[in-house]
């Protein structure tokens, strides 16, 4: 569906995307995970055939976006990072005008708009003004709008940023359904739980380059331990204690507010610590996540 090779986007001397390569197969759910400014959105704009690449090759549905931008875009659904619904139009009209952009006949799009409102759970808000919708509803409307043309590929740039937990789960559920129906999803996120929930395969991106690639499970397996022990000794003691336990587990990571001990058995590490007379204020044993992978690969956490 998508093949990128040494894809690069430069703004003057600054390389926002610095030679990344990846492929996305039909029906796959592919993620770009990375912090803000990693080059995820720029990559998405190039894949969305609206931003011209500086160098490298890019093929979407077998077509080059430089030559066939409109043709490629006719097969894409795009959910941008910031909602760009038309606030001057009502909810249902937003779907209708957007459908017209793809050359869909008025009678067809009228029916389609009702189906999509149903899918987005917005049927009772059809005549509402966009401004009166909640953040989650606007997001769902933006996703519904991205589906008017039955896209082969759905591009989602940080689909749940800024939403409350309930709204996120409703959205994830809708995306799952699309995935089940065989829509290819490409999404960017800086939430590891989102990446774990939605992506079959992902790349970890930082500073415009790919740091690692694989399924969420294989990335965790390759770059982290099975479990993580998180302990807090208070901000003034963390660094001192960290010195004493630096050989604990497979690896120790000191963050400003806590210490992370990577190990196959977190409970055993905690017991060793308390046996040595170190009593943390709080302790938590959890499964390793993509956050840990990212920390390992870049030395920084995802949300700073």
């Amino acid at each position: 569906m998508i093949t990128a090779s040494a894809l690069t986007k430069k703004y003057k001397d600054f390389a926002a995307v610095d030679g990344i390569s990846f492929e996305v197969a039909p029906g796959e759910s592919f993620g770009l995970l990375g912090p803000n400014g990693a080059g995820k959105s720029t990559t998405m704009r190039m894949v969305g055939a609206v931003s011209t690449r500086t160098s490298g090759t890019l093929s979407i549905l077998g077509l080059d976006p430089d030559e066939h931008g409109p043709e490629i875009r006719s097969q894409l659904g795009v959910v941008p990072q910031a909602d760009n619904l038309d606030q001057e139009l009502r909810v249902r009209d937003n779907l209708i005008v957007y459908g017209r952009y793809f050359g869909i006949a008025r009678s067809v799009i009228a029916k389609k708009a009702d189906e999509l409102l149903e899918f987005a759970q917005l049927t009772d808000r059809a005549k509402a003004k966009v401004d009166d919708l909640s953040g989650g509803m606007k997001r769902r409307l933006t996703i519904a709008r991205a589906l008017v043309n039955d896209p082969r590929i759905l591009l989602l740039d940080e689909p749940t940023t800024g939403l409350d937990p309930q709204a996120r789960h409703i959205l994830w559920d809708r995306l799952f359904r699309l995935k089940e129906q065989g829509t290819t999803l490409v999404l960017t996120t800086h939430y590891m739980d989102e990446a774990e929930q939605l992506c079959d395969r992902l790349v970890v991106v930082d500073k415009g380059t790919i740091m690692a690639e694989g399924s969420p499970a294989s990335l965790i397996r390759d770059h982290s331990s099975r479990e993580v022990l998180e302990v807090r000794f208070g901000s003034d003691r963390n660094a001192i204690v960290a010195e004493q336990i630096r050989n604990a587990g497979d690896r120790v990571e000191v963050l400003p507010d806590r210490i992370l001990v990577y190990s196959a058995n977190g409970e055993a590490e905690l017991t060793k610590m308390t046996d040595a007379g170190l009593e943390p204020i709080t302790s938590l044993v959890r499964r390793s996540s993509l956050e840990d992978v990212f920390l390992r690969l870049t030395g920084r956490s995802l949300i700073e």
Partner: protein, 281 residues
């Protein structure tokens, strides 16, 4: 940059077919969208397009005209002040709509209501966005001038049957202003009061110094250049030629038309370029 070769397959066949209609009709889809958006304030639009000519024609064509009973010289004879001022007011009405529709909507499209990015995420291009916006502006200007003209007829302000051409010349004047203004407003990234400046130092002086209320020749010579660069003056003179046979040499009529057409083309193409460039981030 290396080109990716096109591999024939069902996916790209569907894509190639999907691009066909939007490539051809995209500008009209955008105009359709904008016209749909105008519906939300159509009552204001209708009220102003009927109210404005009534008020202006009463005040200037009837009220002020009483102070000019001898009329305005035209060739060997004279023409009533009402007939003299009406074509200017008609062109001004088109310019007012043009200024309104070519300022905020173009800046907003990138910023406060960033629909241009949404349009460009579909098969539509930056050029089509510009085209669609201008078609929608014309779709407001033409009815406005048409209504204005009908009111002028009721006032008996149009001596010649050719006066109906004034709808076209006024609309062209509006379009020239709209495209030139839009080529600037679509560049604006931050609102620092530029729109108010356009109105205060662009549109308003133009309205006052374009031979609207008095012939341009009445102005001191060092102010007459304002008329010559003002699309409104050129449009007004054309309207007067049509409405009452203003005594204007043929070469000057040609200058009026060419000037308005040239501004329209330059402004239109410049706006296309600005929008295309800003969308390609």
């Amino acid at each position: 940059m290396s080109k990716t070769s096109v591999v024939a397959g069902p996916a790209n066949q569907r894509a190639l077919a999907g691009g066909r209609k939007p490539r051809r009709w995209g500008s009209w889809y955008i105009a359709e969208h904008r016209i749909r958006g105008q519906r939300s304030y159509y009552q204001t639009i209708i009220a102003t397009s009927i109210g404005n000519p009534l008020v202006y024609l009463f005040a200037l064509g009837v009220g002020l005209a009483a102070l000019v009973p001898q009329g305005i010289p035209n060739g060997a004879g004279t023409i009533s002040y009402l007939a003299f001022v009406a074509p200017a007011l008609l062109a001004t009405a088109a310019v007012t709509v043009a200024a309104e529709e070519s300022t905020y909507p173009f800046m907003m499209g990138f910023k406060w209501n960033p629909i241009f990015f949404a349009m460009n995420a579909t098969p539509l291009s930056g050029n089509q966005v510009a085209n669609g916006m201008f078609i929608a502006i014309l779709a407001r200007i033409v009815p406005t001038t048409l209504i204005y003209f009908v009111v002028m007829l009721f006032f008996g302000a149009v001596p010649s049957g050719w006066g109906v051409l004034g709808i076209a010349t006024a609309s062209l004047t509006g379009l020239a202003i709209a495209t030139v203004v839009a080529s600037y407003t679509s560049r604006i990234e931050e609102d620092k009061g530029q729109m108010a400046m356009i109105m205060r130092f662009g549109i308003t002086p133009m309205f006052l110094f374009s031979g609207t209320f008095f012939p341009l020749e009445s102005l001191p010579w060092f102010l007459q250049w304002i008329g010559w660069i003002s699309p409104l003056w050129h449009g007004t003179q054309l309207g007067r030629v049509a409405a009452y046979g203003l005594d204007e040499p043929a070469w000057l009529i040609a200058v009026h038309i060419v000037y308005l057409l040239a501004l329209t083309i330059v402004g239109w193409v410049a706006t296309q370029r600005v929008i295309t460039r800003r969308l390609n981030k």
